[in-house]
């Protein structure tokens, strides 16, 4: 099995090199036959990589401990689902998985555009194949997932998968992130192709619009699932910690978001061509750079991947791409120029432009904070880190500006907005915002950021609702449809627009969730059975402690009765587990806290079983009351819904109209 898998990988690399060679020949000689063969060898790479991936998967499922990777990340006791997810639990496996995703994308691009974009496709295939070749070099020579096990005795059982990763979310979160990270290769490849072939009109942008949206969605969902997992599994009570690895996934999402907004202007107005090129280049580089950050160990992170020799290789790749792209953009600058000009600050175009500036600013701030330890060490010799307080302080106000733009953007007209229409469109949202601020002030909230956020969320929500309402009234009056039918038809007639609005509402809900953070409470106690403690209006009684022996771990289970104003709310059952508890070597036993929470729209009661002194039955318990967290997840669902609506192909309805 190991030999088979490894030879598949070598063969893929040779096919990739052959593809690049054939495309260069085609571009030199202009003989179509070279291009046809190149298309096939490129598909060959995809096929071989898929086979290699399946081979590793088979080894994992069969617990073939001759393969080092299988022995290190699974054991006989690992449940089947997690044998499957071990595919991306370690470095070499995740690199192969990355490659597999890239190859699947490439195959789709190839087949979809078989007979389209004759000028662009050779360069698209070339770019994708270069990226594939880079990862193939890695899995062949640096981190081969098929390396045989390095031991002079037969391995009877593997090490097993980290219990923290044994969570169903871990089956979706990494693949989602990968779909996002890797997916930006496709728009990037089309951008490079447009530059190389000087086909800089609007075609490449239209071709990649859907791809970009899909990729952007996958990345966003991946990031959100990571937060969801951290919140529901890790037990520190939050969903975002500004950890370097989280930032690494957030940065391409930010520039990607800027990109999906600014390509709208290029599509409609044929402007911002250079800017879009730079944005997609930066987004792709941030994806690669993110992988570099997580793999190189240059910044310390709680996401502990092994430090490895991959860092310099990734950095070299990043600089190489950067150099080539800068050269391409500079030599094509004349073709990228546009005669059109922005006419007014108060227009849809400039709204988009400012949105872009703000997104890029946040990205810059996050990048700066993430890299600051490295930079400060290079300059002063001492590593200076900045934690969550820095990131919150910096990004909250910029985020609020963004929220404001999300509210006014849709109300601005293209080219120029008149003063009358500004007043007409903005008076109701502004008044609603002010009304909401008054209401929460009556409830005693005085802090400035929550008040501003309340104003802006109400403002944006109202302006978007009005936008929907106007559309519906026009349709009901014009076609006599019922309001519901009018809503459905209106959305299906203009999916990208209304899908976008729904995403904006999702973002509004997320911001509501973020305000909740300002009102969180947490406390820790040592408790024995029968004791009672108070937090944020709740009485919490430790009423019982049980022990249970389960197949792969031992557990202490606490029962915490949560009482509010004399009424029982819920019983929480946080657990302290010991994995590998039968292992005679105490160093191999692995404690794990399984948290328990009760979630409502208002707040979550979140309990963690910190530790236990078994002789005295004295427990350490942490209780957190986290406000409005559900709104963050609700926002995530709306983001998904809105993007799916925007993505949904509209071909059928168009045909009918024609």
């Amino acid at each position: 099995m190991p030999v088979y898998g490894a030879s598949l990988l070598s063969l893929s690399l040779s096919f990739a090199v052959l593809t690049i060679f054939l495309i260069v020949l085609f571009l030199r000689r202009d003989d179509d036959r070279f291009f046809f063969v190149a298309q096939r060898t490129s598909l060959g790479v995809c096929f071989l990589v898929t086979l290699a991936t399946m081979t590793l998967l088979a080894s994992l499922l069969k617990s073939d401990f001759d393969v080092d990777y299988v022995a290190k990340y699974t054991s006989l006791g690992t449940p089947t689902l997690y044998k499957f997810t071990a595919m991306w639990a370690g470095q070499s496996g995740s690199l192969l998985f990355w490659l597999f995703v890239l190859c699947s994308y490439s195959a789709v691009v190839l087949l979809q555009n078989r007979n389209k974009h004759q000028k662009l496709m050779p360069y698209v295939i070339m770019t994708l194949t270069v990226i594939q070749a880079f990862f193939l070099l890695l899995v062949n020579f640096v981190a081969n997932p098929f390396s045989p096990v390095d031991a002079n005795f037969p391995i009877q059982d593997g090490l097993g998968l980290n219990p923290l990763l044994q969570n169903p979310t871990m089956a979706i979160h990494p693949p989602m992130l990968y779909l996002g990270y890797v997916g930006f290769s496709v728009p990037f490849a089309f951008a490079v192709a447009a530059l190389c072939s000087r086909q800089l009109d609007v075609v490449w942008v239209q071709t990649i619009r859907r791809w970009t949206l899909f990729t952007w969605l996958a990345l966003g969902i991946g990031v959100l699932l990571g937060g969801w997992w951290a919140y529901n599994e890790l037990g520190w009570g939050g969903y975002w910690a500004w950890d370097p690895v989280e930032n690494a996934s957030f940065m391409p999402w930010l520039t990607g978001t800027a990109f999906i907004h600014s390509i709208i202007i290029q599509e409609k107005k044929n402007m911002l061509k250079v800017w879009n090129m730079i944005l997609i280049l930066v987004t792709f580089l941030l994806c690669i750079f993110g992988t570099f950050l997580t793999r190189s160990g240059i910044v310390s992170s709680v996401h502990s991947f092994t430090e490895s020799s991959l860092g310099p290789i990734f950095l070299t790749f990043v600089f190489l791409i950067l150099a080539v792209c800068i050269y391409l953009i500079l030599t094509r600058l004349d073709d990228l120029k546009t005669e059109k000009r922005l006419e007014s600050f108060v227009s849809r175009e400039s709204g988009f432009l400012f949105n872009n500036v703000v997104f890029v600013s946040i990205c810059f701030a996050v990048l700066w904070g993430t890299m600051f330890p490295v930079i400060s060490e290079a300059v002063t010799g001492t590593q200076i880190t900045v934690g969550a307080p820095f990131f919150n302080q910096i990004t909250i106000p910029i985020g609020l500006i963004l929220l404001f733009l999300a509210g006014i953007g849709p109300l601005l007209a293209w080219r120029k907005t008149s003063k009358e229409s500004l007043i007409r469109n903005f008076s109701i949202p502004v008044l609603t915002g002010l009304g909401m601020v008054t209401v929460v002030m009556v409830f005693g909230i005085r802090a400035i950021y929550p008040l501003v956020t309340v104003f802006l969320t109400a403002f944006v929500a109202t302006s978007i609702t009005l936008e929907f309402w106007r559309g519906i009234t026009v349709r009901t009056r014009k076609f006599g449809e019922s309001p519901f039918m009018a809503l459905v038809k209106m959305i299906s007639k203009n999916r990208s627009r209304y899908g976008g609005y729904i995403v904006h509402i999702g973002i509004v809900f997320m911001f509501i969730g973020f305000i909740g953070k300002a009102f969180d409470k947490d406390k820790e106690w040592s408790m024995s059975v029968g004791e009672e403690v108070q937090i944020a209006g709740y009485d919490i009684v430790l009423s019982d402690l049980n022990e249970e022996e389960r197949p792969n771990h031992f557990a202490w289970i606490a029962t915490l009765d949560v009482i509010k104003e004399g009424k029982d709310v819920v019983s929480l059952h946080p657990e302290k587990r010991i994995y590998f508890h039968r292992n005679p070597n105490p160093d191999r036993r692995q404690p794990h806290s399984e948290l328990s929470l009760h979630s409502t729209w208002r707040e979550d009661v979140y309990s963690v079983f910190g530790g236990i002194d078994p002789d005295k039955e004295l427990l350490t318990i942490k209780i957190m009351v986290n406000r409005l967290v559900r709104f963050v997840w609700l926002g995530g669902y709306l983001l998904l819904l809105g993007t799916v609506i925007a993505l949904w192909p509209a071909r059928r309805s168009r045909r009918k109209e024609n």
Partner: protein, 134 residues
């Protein structure tokens, strides 16, 4: 593009850079070695530091009445630093584990308000371990 727009955008960009620069004020957390912390100690109340190292074997001490109160000795390149901590510790915390602590130093003790464990090494562990366990 219009010059006016360029000026405004550059102004915004400049503003953002200044804003990010200001954000560092009071939020920096120097990542120092035990040696640097103890030799260059000047009394600066409330100044926070971040340190890494290993928990000295057998040095973890818990208060009998309050299991949350904890002290241990942090080892780094042969230097030692007594650390006091009063919170729930991560699951991976034990003798010999690699930890990062953040907190203040009074010239003798380090009062940590944040303790993180590094955990990768365990799962990248030695396959020979499994042989003994069978």
């Amino acid at each position: 593009m219009n010059k006016r727009f360029l000026v405004v955008i550059l102004a915004i960009a400049l503003l953002m850079i200044v804003w990010v620069g200001l954000g560092f004020e009071g939020n920096e957390l120097p990542y120092v070695t035990i040696r640097e912390l103890t030799t260059n100690y000047e009394k600066k109340p409330g100044k926070r530091f971040r340190l890494g190292g290993n928990v000295k074997e057998g040095s973890i001490f818990r208060n009998d009445n309050d299991p949350l109160a904890l002290s241990f000795v942090l080892m780094q390149e042969g230097n030692r630093l007594p650390v006091s901590y009063h919170k729930i510790v991560p699951d991976m915390f034990k003798d010999g584990s690699e930890v990062i602590v953040e907190g203040i130093y009074d010239g003798e003790y380090f009062f940590a308000d944040n303790l993180m464990t590094k955990c990768a090494s365990r799962y990248e562990g030695d396959l020979r371990d499994t042989k003994t366990s069978l």
